[in-house]
Amino acid sequence: MAKKLGFLVNIERCIGCHACEISCKSFYQLEPNMRRRRVQELPEDVVGTPVRAFVSTACNHCDDPACKKACPVGAYTKREDGIVVHNQDLCIGCQMCGKACPYSVPMFNPVKKKMDKCSMCYDRLDVGQLPICVEKCPLEAIQIVDYNEVQPANAVSEIPTFADTSITHPTTHFILHKPGKQSRRF
């Protein structure tokens, strides 16, 4: 059976440090404003007790990618293992994909005048290496999961701030933050 690769983001582990995002920027030598992975702050009452909670997302390598549908030149392909690949050589920089994506993932690179997005480091995966963000997260909060093989018990596909998943069926899943006990000042 074909694979269905997706990110599994452990919000319980994530400390919102952005090392995933910056290691990706460094490895791919992206322009300062280009962000293939983004860390966003969640509402602080997301788990009931107030906490600093973050979620790290990149391309969601959707089952039904809107970027691919919107692209007028066929720059997008979805591999058999589920990875959505954008070919910059074909890209004409029309930005239709960025507008179509419910998660605003594809970004316009004003220097190259092309769109840019996460490739799940498929070239690294193909030689048995992990994507950079997965390998470099100091807390090991990001994993790649073959969702056709495993359905992690506590993983969910929807979190607050994440757009309606029924449109493109993103493969990214999340492990939510477990609230601890708090004794705040009386």
């Binding site: 319980e12 440090c17 995002e21 290691s23 602080e44 004794s183």
Partner: protein, 733 residues
């Protein structure tokens, strides 16, 4: 250095294992072009890797692997051979390629016409050395000594070879020195009184702890690699308790978070101690065999401390204090990590002594996975050979003169015999980092010449006469150890220095050469030398034995990183304390000699003045270490400006909405910045994180007074600053 010199063609055919060695993705023939910048072959395709060491003032002091293609750095990441770094860097470390190739690097020596004018002109190194050397010689002639020359250097780069700056100043004669540390002084003195020295367990031992209390420490932001071990321990069932006035990122991950009123942590520890003593939960054998003064301390607690009092004082409910006390006393081993921020109060040292006492009575000191962990310096036994040349013959004065680094401006202005006329600043940014920046500026105004060696045009450089451009770690040689973990990391030169940058060691040799040209014998610092020889000279038999390495070069060839012998990684394992009695001293005569109570008692916190009722804390920020990193565009793209965290209740009272501009003011200064409304801070406190944001013309220290901590003179020469006893008022701007 792992040198793999082969053609790009061979490289593309390379095996997966080779690519793993190099940390690079291999471009397969199917790979669409344009996705893998590294595969876009340049010239002859020479790929090399080097070991580097992150030299910043940070617990984690990482071992780094730097990939260089055709002489240019293409990736910087953690060294997998270091079990603490684990092949990963924090967010700041991941920006290093940008640190090196930043468009903001200072490229050449420059002279400014009019301090703060921005009217800089490029000069040659020879001109810079000549101006500086002539001034040094003129001062020596006019005042009969070099004491009017003041060095302010500290923690911007902890590479052992950077002590060449101190060595260079010593080599011209006796000078004035900014002494002390803004970092840990009160807490280090406290541990010095209790145990003879601050000495922490290996942080990898969080995995061996049954119970962890992070007491005013926020490793999620300040020590991400420690946070990994803590999270691993948590997953294995270790309970994580965080005690902090703020709901920090680390507190957000705790099994239990306890919000303590700032500067009352000592009362909390003493309340727990009272409960533990009352319920016979203390380790009677440990205290009878390994301590002195326990009975006096016990009497003090019985007479003066109740759990009810502690609850009232700290804001922590009595049942919580009792439960935490019981849990902590019965867990074996239980680990406490005291953060530096916790002691940045007028009673900080006394509070650390109280927490130490809690660990001691429960027998948690000297245990693997336990301890009362604060800071340590067991691995710092280098030769410091750059510092050993001494004053030249005929130097006026008898010894260096010290001013407190923590009240630098005022003490420089006070030094009159002779006055201070020239400053050398390196690895430091006092205009941004010191309290009362307006006083620092006044001190600068008194100078005939201010020389600053730095990477970027920061606040201090902007107010200097001459700037000397320095190298990043990747452009020079060195060796680093940590004040937290137990690794030694080699720093190789990965690339040629960019532009006209030089290391502090090269600057020392260059200035000495010029001084000796102008006046032979005026500087004892060597005028030439290979940095590789210098770094090798740092290694002595003891340190080689401790790390089981033959030489710096041997370590360079064998992984670039080595861990100290495990005999030293459990602090006080032999229970031989470095106090006068050789025991743990609940009763410290040394403390009394320094004017403190001999026992770990509670001393009162600083009270808010009526007109400034709101505490403003300035803890460390995740995108910076002091004034480093946050100003880089990679991080500015994520967070473009400072902000003030305000509790919704306080915000409501002041009619402030999220993102409103807020004026924060007290008798020292004021600034205006956007509000972030959040429950992460209590209603009587606002928080402004420490850092230097590019294009922002103020820092968190604008309202900070040079208010002293209670301790610091014993081990650090000077008391520190109570940064978190800063009281302000706020209003909607």
């Amino acid at each position: 250095m792992l040198t793999e010199n082969f053609s790009r063609r061979t490289f593309l055919k390379g095996s997966a294992s080779l690519s793993a060695l190099l940390g690079l993705g291999v471009a397969t023939s199917q790979a669409p072009k344009g996705l893998i910048p590294k595969a876009q072959a340049k010239s002859n395709g020479k790929v090399e890797q080097f070991y580097n060491a992150c030299p910043r003032n940070c617990y984690d002091t990482c071992s780094i692997v730097t990939t260089v293609e055709d002489g240019r750095i293409t990736f910087i990441t953690g060294n997998e051979k270091n079990t603490y770094t684990k092949g990963r860097l924090c967010v700041k470390g991941n920006t290093y390629p940008r640190v090196v190739y930043s468009p903001d690097r200072i490229k050449y020596p420059m002279r400014q016409k009019g301090r703060g004018s921005g009217n800089w002109e490029r000069i040659s190194w020879d001109e810079a050395y000549t101006i500086i050397a002539k001034k040094i010689l003129a001062i020596k002639k006019e005042y009969g000594s070099t004491l009017p020359i003041c060095l302010n250097k500290y923690s911007g780069n902890f590479n052992i070879l950077n002590y060449a700056t101190e060595g260079m100043l010593s080599s011209i004669g006796y000078t004035t020195r900014a002494q002390g540390t803004p970092c840990d002084p009160a807490g280090s003195d406290a541990q010095g009184f209790d145990m003879g020295a601050p000495y922490n367990n290996d942080p990898e031992q969080f995995l061996d702890a049954d119970y962890i209390i992070l007491w005013g420490a926020n490793p999620a932001w300040t020590s991400a690699h420690s946070m990994y071990f803590i999270e691993q321990a948590k997953e294995r069932g270790t309970k994580l308790v965080v005690i902090d006035p703020l709901i920090t990122q680390t507190a957000s991950k705790a099994d239990e978070y306890i919000q303590v009123k700032a500067s009352t942590d000592g009362a909390l520890a003493l309340g727990m101690i009272r409960y533990i003593l009352d319920h016979q939960l203390y380790d009677k054998n440990w205290v009878s065999q390994n301590s002195i003064g326990f009975n006096e301390f016990f009497s003090y607690v019985k007479k003066n401390i109740t759990v009810e009092w502690a609850a009232e004082k700290t804001g922590v409910p009595k049942p919580v204090i009792e439960r935490i006390a019981r849990e902590y006393a019965t867990a074996k081993p239980a680990n406490i990590w005291i953060g530096f921020g916790m002691q940045r109060h007028v009673n900080g040292g006394a509070m650390v002594r109280a927490i130490d006492a809690l660990a001691a009575i429960t027998g948690n000191i000297g245990k693997k996975g336990g301890g009362v962990n604060y800071i340590g310096e067991e691995t710092w036994g280098f030769n410091y050979s750059t510092m050993g040349f001494g004053a030249p013959e005929g130097s006026g004065g008898e010894a260096d003169r010290y001013v407190n680094m923590n009240n630098f401006g005022a003490q420089v202005l006070d030094a009159n015999d002779p006055p201070i006329k020239m400053m050398w600043i390196a690895c430091r940014n006092p205009m941004a980092q010191d309290p009362e920046p307006t006083v620092v500026k006044k001190a600068f105004d008194q100078m005939d010449l201010i020389v600053t060696a730095d990477l970027y045009m920061n606040k201090t450089v902007e107010y200097s006469d001459i700037v000397l451009p320095v190298t990043t770690p990747f452009e020079s040689v060195g060796v680093n150890v940590s004040y937290w973990h137990y690794w030694m990391n080699v720093n190789e030169q990965a690339i040629k220095p960019l532009y006209e940058t030089k290391s502090d060691l090269e600057i020392a040799m260059g200035l000495s050469k010029k001084l000796n040209q102008l006046k032979p014998g005026s500087c004892t610092f060597p005028v030439t030398g290979d940095p590789l020889d210098w770094v090798e000279k740092e290694m002595n038999d003891d340190i080689k034995a401790l790390f089981n390495v033959k030489s710096w070069d041997d370590l360079r060839k064998n992984g670039g990183t080595a861990k100290a012998n495990e005999s030293i990684t459990v602090a006080w394992k032999d229970l031989k304390f470095r106090t006068p009695s050789g025991k743990y001293e609940f009763y410290s005569k040394t403390a009394a000699e320094y004017g403190h109570h001999p026992l770990p008692i509670f001393t009162e916190e600083y009270k808010a003045p009526k007109e400034y009722p709101i505490r403003c804390m300035s803890p460390h920020w995740k995108f910076g270490i002091h004034s480093q990193f946050q100003h880089q565009d990679w991080l500015m793209a994520i967070q473009a400006h400072p902000f003030l965290e305000i509790h919704p209740d306080l915000a409501k009272k002041k009619s402030i909405r999220d993102q409103d501009m807020v004026k924060i003011i007290n008798e020292t200064g004021y600034m205006t910045l956007p509000a972030k409304i959040t429950k992460m801070v209590p209603a009587d406190t606002v928080v402004m994180y420490e850092g230097w944001w590019k294009g922002v013309n103020y820092t968190e220290n604008f309202t900070v007074k040079a208010l002293q901590e209670d301790m610091g003179e014993h081990l650090k020469g000077q008391r520190g600053i109570a940064f978190h006893d800063n009281f302000v008022n706020i209003e909607k701007a």
